[in-house]
């Protein structure tokens, strides 16, 4: 294969293909900005499928996240969510869930209250929006319906018995059964993603329904691990419900899991169709910040790729996705060497109690930004006028403990793109339109 260097141009470059990067690309499209998205999508498979806005704050469990956001502006004024107007968060969240639904992955519209969603261990997680395939669990639990939870021989790490044992005090009508999945019941390990792809075949759904039907008894609802298809989960879900005649709901399995794979595959197929130039499997190796724009370099199987853009949104995430890295001496941002706000020394990174509800200081480290969502240097000055940042890379939030990951990703992507679009338009007024990215 002859490797050939290529150059592409776009108005906005989004770096990072987690929720924040994906959301930023969609918001850029909505604003009519030509956008290129680069970054490795590995980590999105670890999302649960639930979209949280704010589940816990300094005062504990959050029932009404919109009201809690008003308090957050007082309690944590530097929190990224405290720096986005409520209307903007609503617009962003609603637009995002609406677009997912339109693209074929149905999500409930954000309501006024958090809902308590099921976890594989039978605990409950406050979240704001959930996939249609998981929604019936909420009503079934609230009404205390007699419900059967089925798990599968060989599906490691998902135990219906565990779920039932932990939920029983709150949901006495719950019971567990283990069965073999059609054609995959030898006892050997089976994988959720493989089961999900198998259920896209109508005959497999039929055979699964034939195995489950006789077990339902008095059950008024059925819970399954999240295996109802990868590409058309809503259809698989509807058809299984009509085959069985009871509401069916999915329960997330341990990540990486099907709900995350659905998001990844949805973005990878739908974003290019909507006009996003996508380089999903490659990390940016080098980012140059120039006075007229930004240049990113990466390498794929066909050689070196250079992308030029008028502005960039950095949405590279934290440690797991490689946006931040830590040595014994400190934490750094890996791509643009941005200043990272961080605790003084390693001793202060973690509390001695892992589960201390206040969380660990290291998780509030990150990049700080100005009111235009542009990173600041250690002295508090603008790092570069054409560089913007969004998502969990930002300082002053603890997305894990506050259950605000999707909220931070979506709301800050919305704002960063809004500000970046202004920069792009300024240049568009001065520079003639360029050839569209193929």
């Amino acid at each position: 294969m002859i490797k050939q260097p290529r150059r592409h141009q776009a108005e906005l470059l989004v770096i990072g293909s987690g929720l924040a990067g994906m959301a930023a690309s969609l918001f850029a499209l909505e604003r009519g900005v030509e956008v290129a998205l680069v970054g490795n999508t590995g980590v999105i498979a670890f999302t649960t499928g639930y979209l949280d806005l704010l589940g816990y704050d300094g005062r504990g469990f959050v029932d009404e996240p919109w009201r809690a956001l008003i308090r957050l502006r007082e309690d944590e004024p530097r929190h990224p969510l405290a720096n986005v107007a409520e209307d903007d968060i609503r617009a962003a969240f609603t637009s995002f869930t609406h677009t997912l639904t339109e693209m074929g992955l149905g999500y409930t519209a954000p309501g006024q209250h958090n809902v308590l969603a099921l976890t594989p261990a039978g605990t409950l997680k406050p979240t704001l929006s959930l996939p249609f395939t998981m929604q019936p669990a909420i009503a079934a639990m609230a009404r205390g319906l007699d419900t059967l939870v089925v798990d599968f021989i060989g599906l490691n790490g998902f135990s219906a018995r565990e779920l039932v044992a932990n939920l029983a005090p709150r949901w006495p009508g719950l019971r567990a059964r283990r069965i073999g999945f059609p054609d995959m019941d030898s006892g050997a390990e089976v994988y959720a993603e493989v089961l999900a792809r198998a259920l896209e075949v109508p005959a497999t759904r039929q055979r699964l329904a034939e195995r489950i039907g006789p077990l339902l008894g008095s059950a008024q609802a059925l819970g399954l691990p999240a295996i109802l298809g990868v590409h058309r989960p809503d259809q698989v879900h509807r058809e299984l419900q009509s085959l069985l005649g009871v509401p069916v709901f999915e329960i997330p399995t341990m990540p990486p899991a099907v709900p995350g794979v659905r998001l990844r595959e949805l973005f990878e197929t739908q974003l290019p169709q909507r006009g996003v130039a996508l380089e999903p499997q490659h990390r940016v190796k080098r980012l140059e910040l120039l006075s007229q724009g930004v240049t990113a370099q990466l390498e794929d199987a066909y050689g070196e790729v250079t992308i030029e853009a008028a502005a960039a949104v950095l949405a590279t995430g934290r440690f797991t996705s490689g946006g931040l890295s830590a040595s014994p001496n400190g934490i750094r941002e890996t791509l643009a060497n941005l200043a990272v706000l961080q605790p003084e020394g390693r001793t202060a990174w973690y509390r001695s109690d892992y589960f201390d509800p206040r969380g660990h200081a290291i998780n509030r480290s990150g990049v700080t930004v100005d009111e235009q969502w542009r990173p600041l240097d250690a002295a508090g000055k603008l790092a570069h006028p054409r560089l913007f940042a969004a998502g969990s890379l930002l300082a002053h939030q603890d997305w894990i403990r506050q259950r605000c990951g999707a909220g931070v990703a979506i709301a800050t992507a919305y704002k960063a793109v809004e500000c970046a679009a202004r920069t792009v338009r300024d240049r568009r007024d001065r520079v003639p339109a360029r050839r569209r990215f193929p």
Binding site: F46, T48, F61, G111, N114, V115, L116, T119, P120, A121, G122, T123, L124, K125, Q135, I138, A139, A142, R143, G154, N156, G157, S159, R161, E162, A165, N166, A168, R170, R178, S186, G187, E189, P252, M254, P255, F319, T320, G322, L324, S325, S327, P328, G345, R346, T347, W349, Y350, S352, D353, Y354, F355, D356, P357, H360, N363, W399, I400, R403, G405
Partner: protein, 533 residues
């Protein structure tokens, strides 16, 4: 209520050693520990079976004792021992005179020691520093302290139906006419009280021996608590035990432990035995010192730090320095304190536990009128099926050889299959009565790999629910407590490749499962918080 000939307090290597020693003389024992096997210093050490070299210069009696005991253990418990050999090396900056005296001190303690050139040493262990100027080989070895205690208990159970009770804390003794009649104990999990009637009582509580002695009204046992911290590398660094040839100090021993290596040890006198855990400063100190001997330590991934407390015997008027205190042991018969059936064995080392058990066994047997001699010097330890899982690499070999596709791997780092967990739950000493994730971890490699239990703990928990070992929210709380405990050892070595994993684990434990919000009553939220959309 239990009736026994000998009650032994403390499930470390000494207490279990006494248990086996007595059982080999036909004596029935009940062993109790307020936590579990190896919960103290027996689970917080290098696993080094000393040749005696380390003490040759400063403490020749201990050195000779280590040599003799090391030879015995290599013969009777070869499955618990890796006779990997050891090196003593001096690097630039170390005292050349100390190094020069080493050979002669080893010889007078009877330790087989050979001088080799720095080049020969670096050929044996390429990880060694180029700044080496002296090197000696000695017959150091490593011992699996978990395996040895499990084997001891297992054997004692077989011999005399002796009993081990975990989570059983001594509350008080009932003494009558200079004799302990019984011990009142509390189950630390359920709060229930049990009385154990025993003819003889042995205090082998390690660092807690002073507290136990005081419960019997004896004040003659005085211990110095010396905290030691070690760090574990992701992969084995050297083939042999590598000792720094200088007066013992921090970061001067690198000991292989199967697939990993352990670098230690710090020494700090502490007053309080509760909440002993490693610190960032100790880890930085160990790494800085370790680099001088083995430069690659600077770039090594460490997966965990841990701390133990050395219970050192304090002679009257001795200065309070853990490194200078004696590594020898003492057996107290407490007769001068008016008790006829109480004994305390304290101090000592992992390497000399058998000898400590022998001396204690002699006293207890004589008091019971039992004339059987000690047999531990020559009787091989049998290898029990349910106690093999602590050996690194055993589980994957077993799994591959067994070829059962339905036997799912629950711990991916150490390749521990479901059948190993089943075997422990069914048959491992002390696990049958009250299984917990922690009990399984003590008896296997679960939680000892690079993920440090973050992911495998959840799969093992699910498996235990599937087996109906758990049928309530208690199982999840055990998981939470286990993960929180492992974290104390991970946090001080958390940098580099650890961070992505730690962040992912926290997202799973807290973000998804909500273990940070798990109330001890099993409920997470008020019922009114449930919304019907």
């Amino acid at each position: 209520m239990f009736e026994t000939e000998a009650l032994i307090i403390g499930g470390g290597v000494t207490g279990t050693g006494v248990m086996r020693d007595l059982a080999l003389r036909g004596i029935h024992c009940v062993l109790i520990d307020r936590r579990d096997l190896n919960a103290g210093a027996s689970g917080g050490n290098h696993g080094l079976l000393h040749s005696g070299g380390r003490y040759a210069v400063g403490d020749p009696d201990t050195a000779a004792e280590c040599r003799r005991e090391g030879d015995i253990l290599k013969a009777v418990a070869p499955e618990c021992i890796d006779a990997c050999g050891g090196l003593f090396v001096a690097v630039q900056g170390d005292d050349p005179e100390y190094a020069a005296r080493f050979l002669e001190h080893c010889r007078s303690a009877g330790i087989e020691c050979t001088a080799i050139t720095p080049a020969e040493a670096r050929e044996l262990e390429p990880c060694l520093s180029e700044k080496l100027f002296a090197a000696y080989t000695v017959p150091d070895a490593t011992i699996d302290p978990f395996r040895i205690t499990l084997e001891n208990v297992n054997h004692a159970q077989q011999l005399t139906q002796s009993i081990f009770l975990a989570h059983t804390e001594l509350e008080r003794f009932i003494v009558d006419g200079g004799t302990i009649r019984s011990a009142v104990c509390r189950d630390t999990r359920t709060g229930e009280t049990t009385t154990i009637h025993a003819r003889q009582v042995v205090n082998a509580a390690g660092a807690w021996a002073m507290r136990v002695a005081r419960l019997a009204g004896c004040s003659g046992v005085n211990l110095l608590y010396s905290k030691g911290t070690l760090i574990i590398s992701n992969a084995r660094i050297g083939q042999r035990v590598i000792n720094r040839l200088r007066r013992p100090g921090d970061g001067d021993i690198l000991v292989p432990g199967g697939t990993v290596s352990l670098l230690g040890t710090t020494s700090q006198t502490v007053q309080n035995l509760d909440d002993i855990h490693p610190t960032v400063a100790e880890v930085d100190d160990l790494v800085a010192e370790g680099i001088a001997m083995v430069p690659q330590v600077a770039h090594t991934r460490f997966i965990r730090a841990f701390s133990g407390v050395r219970p050192l015997l304090m002679a009257a008027g001795a200065d309070a320095d853990g490194r200078k205190a004696s590594r020898g042991f003492s057996l107290f018969d407490h007769e001068s304190e008016g008790l006829a059936n109480f004994a305390t064995v304290a101090g000592g080392k992992l390497t000399t536990f058998r000898l400590m058990a022998e001396k204690t066994g002699d006293l207890v047997a004589r008091r019971l009128g039992n004339s059987q001699p000690c047999r531990t010097e020559t009787t091989p330890l049998p290898s029990g099926d349910a106690v093999r899982w602590t050996e690194p690499g055993f589980a994957p070999r077993y799994w591959v050889a067994r070829r059962q596709p339905g036997d799912l791997i629950l711990c991916e780092c150490e390749m521990v299959p479901a059948s190993a967990i089943d075997s422990i739950v069914e048959n491992a000493p002390g696990a049958q009565l009250q299984v917990s994730l922690n009990a399984i971890a003590v008896r296997s490699r679960v939680g000892k790999g690079t993920c440090q239990g973050a992911f495998c703990s959840l799969r093992v928990t699910s498996h235990l629910y599937d087996r109906q070992v758990y049928d309530s929210p208690v199982g999840l709380r055990h998981t939470r407590d286990f993960v929180a405990q492992r974290f104390k050892g991970v946090a001080p070595v958390a940098w580099g490749e650890h961070l992505p994993q730690l962040e992912l684990a926290e997202a799973l434990h807290c973000g998804l499962l909500g273990l940070d919000r798990l109330a001890d009553d099993g409920g997470q939220f008020p019922p009114t918080a449930v919304q019907d959309p």
